[in-house]
């Protein structure tokens, strides 16, 4: 276990964490403001990735594709909010779960119908396809560093949006008392659509960027969605700060666990067994982390409102 390897894996963990934050912030915002649990959030991630891959493949430009992917995810989010989601705000969580589960089925099969079952491929833009030297001698892909930077930028922008702008003030007001801000003449329905589309756009952004690292295929949003759930449960549902800290925690624990747990078991087990046991336990690690945190803090680390 060398220092460069550790450093590289820390960056990988950070990259996973910032991507999770893009997903988790949208989920937690929608829950905090509208009280809605949205399983279909992973579908916006998938829409972002597919539209980016398709547009980039057609136009030849990653950046055009990225823009199209984010816009498409936001537009799909807004349409879904207008047609389905706004009927669910006053319903029980069970209804919300089922309706958004139905949306997943519709989006996944619809995408399969449009694009077929074989995955699309999206290349890392040329300008970002190189690698930089890390202290210690190893090299690290620039694109992954850019993803981390984008995640940090979005976190700062969200913080400023929510704490410093009029829109953010309305969002915070909507979180604490929706009747009151409606009475003060704010169009609450429009605000909800906007917040939902914003969350969808962030998910689309995450999907577009990850699409360049993995294959773009139906169902790609689901593992990420479940990780994002773990994140917001750990961080406290409704809290952006919790989402940020939860994302980094989950990203680091998951990445480092997968790399180092098998080698840890090799210290006292036969190598073949050790990699099996190590891999199996590493895949459970974040859930164990979640269980431990919940055993002490049933509402997560930074419970906002409930």
């Amino acid at each position: 276990m060398t220092l460069p390897l550790l450093f590289e894996q820390l960056l990988n963990g950070l990259q996973l964490g910032t991507m999770l934050f893009l997903m988790a912030s949208g989920l937690t915002l929608v829950f905090g403001v509208m009280g809605l649990i949205n399983l279909a959030h992973g579908s916006f991630y998938m829409v972002g990735a597919f539209v980016t891959a398709w547009t980039a493949g057609t136009t030849g430009s990653f950046w055009v594709g990225l823009g199209a992917g984010i816009l498409a995810a936001a537009a799909v989010g807004a349409v879904v909010e207008l047609l389905v989601i706004r009927r669910l705000y006053h319903r029980q969580h069970l209804d919300q779960v089922l309706a958004t589960f139905a949306l997943i089925l519709i989006f996944s099969e619809g995408t399969r119908w449009l694009f077929g079952s074989s995955p699309l491929w999206l290349n890392v833009p040329e300008a970002l396809s190189g690698a930089v030297a890390l202290p210690g001698g190893s090299r690290y892909p620039v694109f992954r560093l850019v993803i981390i930077a984008v995640g940090v930028l979005v976190a700062v922008a969200l913080f400023l949006l929510i704490s410093r702008t009029r829109l953010g003030m309305r969002i915070r007001a909507g979180e604490s008392d929706r009747e009151m801000i409606g009475a003060l003449g704010i169009d609450i329905a429009k605000l909800y659509t906007l917040v939902f589309a914003l969350g969808a756009a962030l998910a689309g952004l995450a999907g577009s960027m990850i699409g360049a690292l993995q294959s773009v295929q139906v169902g790609m949003g689901e593992p990420v969605l479940i990780l994002a759930f773990v994140v917001i449960v750990i961080g406290g549902i409704g809290s952006i700060k919790g989402a940020l800290i939860g994302s980094i925690l989950v990203g680091l624990v998951d990445t480092l666990g997968r790399v180092f747990l098998p080698s840890l078991f090799k210290l006292f087990m036969a190598p073949a067994d050790a990699s099996g046991v190590g891999a199996a336990l590493a895949s459970m690690l974040i859930y164990v982390l979640m269980a431990i945190i919940l055993a002490f803090k049933p509402k997560g680390l930074f419970a906002a409102n409930d």
Binding site: A102, G276, A291
Partner: protein, 331 residues
């Protein structure tokens, strides 16, 4: 004393159960084994949903992780058959346990395993409520799923075939009709146990834990243990259904543990009608028939399932039982 009038819902219940029993018997007489297996599938899926209905419908615990129990039951059946076939022990330490293909041993083992897992998951998850509970049960089920995928001994991602269906003493479980009858009896028992349970003091306490927790506590009954016991019973019923499902398909794999499976069982409960005793049965009939008929027409049948589900949730609350038998009598 007047003779109690038989309610419309009771008629619907008996009709559904009668249809499920008669249809495969006729199909078997006509030599249509496919339809016998289809009925077996309905009975098993319905039983899994009966288990979940106890948690969601009666207990108000929206578990999005029941695939964990369904799959664990399946894996117990699969692993036991695997070792019986291989003539290797399941465990060599601390005690030696050999594999078996006797269903009367496998079922209690599957139920016990599910009870232990449910106790662990439930005791942590039930400390929370609302959305947290939904997400935590989902996350724990995913944990089991990833464990099964990355654990190579029992097939990992590829799953585990069951070459010879496990045996029931005195019956030929390979005969489709006999196996259907085994599953049918199991379903009827699950329904009977649920009904009996909900008529007991325990059932009353469970309902009150859902409707008004504070009031239950004021009456001197702590809600947490009541919920935990109900969650465990619910998991055990779903787990037994999973063991039957593995034997029906001759295969157990991570797909039985996936969150789609949890969603599917939940969809069946809702399509049928939440908190109605026979809701899961009507939901399972509708679901399996849709899967078979639509799935035969188009490979994108899940798209249509999604649309139907969306419609039921948004506009037709109460599901099939609401449609056939009117509003629920209580509450």
């Amino acid at each position: 004393m007047t003779v109690p009038r038989i309610h419309r819902e009771t008629w619907v219940n008996w009709t559904l159960l009668g249809l499920l029993l008669v249809a495969p018997v006729i199909a078997n007489a006509l030599g249509e084994v496919y339809y016998v297996n289809l009925a077996t599938r309905i009975a098993i899926v319905a039983m899994a949903a009966v288990g979940l209905n106890l948690a969601i419908g009666y207990g108000g615990m929206i578990s999005f992780g029941h695939a964990a129990f369904f799959g664990l039951g399946g894996y117990v059946a699969g692993i036991s058959a695997f070792h019986a076939f291989d003539m290797t022990p399941v465990l060599s330490w601390p005690v030696t346990m050999t594999g078996t293909d006797n269903l009367l041993v496998i079922w209690p083992a599957a139920m016990l395993a599910c009870a232990v897992l449910a106790l662990a998951i439930g005791s942590i998850s039930l400390r929370t409520s609302g959305v947290y509970f939904i997400m935590i049960t989902l996350a724990f089920a995913q944990m089991i799923y990833y464990f099964a995928v990355s654990w190579p001994t029992y097939g990992g991602e590829d799953g585990l075939p069951i070459y010879l269906r496990n045996q029931f003493p005195g019956l030929d479980s390979n005969d489709p009709l006999s196996f259907f009858l085994i599953c049918f009896v199991a379903l009827v028992l699950a329904l009977a146990i649920t009904a009996r349970l909900m008529q007991s003091r325990f059932g009353a306490a469970l309902s009150m834990a859902r409707i008004n927790e504070t009031r239950l506590a004021t009456a001197g009954i702590a809600p947490y243990p009541i919920r935990l016991v109900a969650f465990v019973i619910s998991a055990v019923i779903t787990g037994l259904a999973g063991a039957l499902f593995a034997d029906l398909n001759g295969f157990v794999g991570p797909s039985m543990l996936s969150w789609h499976r949890s969603g599917e069982i939940m969809v069946i409960v809702i399509l049928g009608g939440v908190g109605r005793l026979y809701g899961p049965l009507s939901g399972a009939i509708l679901f399996v028939l849709m899967e078979t008929l639509l799935g035969g027409l188009t490979e994108y049948w899940l798209l249509f399932l999604g649309l139907v589900l969306l419609f039921v949730v948004l506009f037709a609350r109460g599901g099939v039982m609401g449609l056939l038998a009117g509003r629920a009598r209580h509450e």
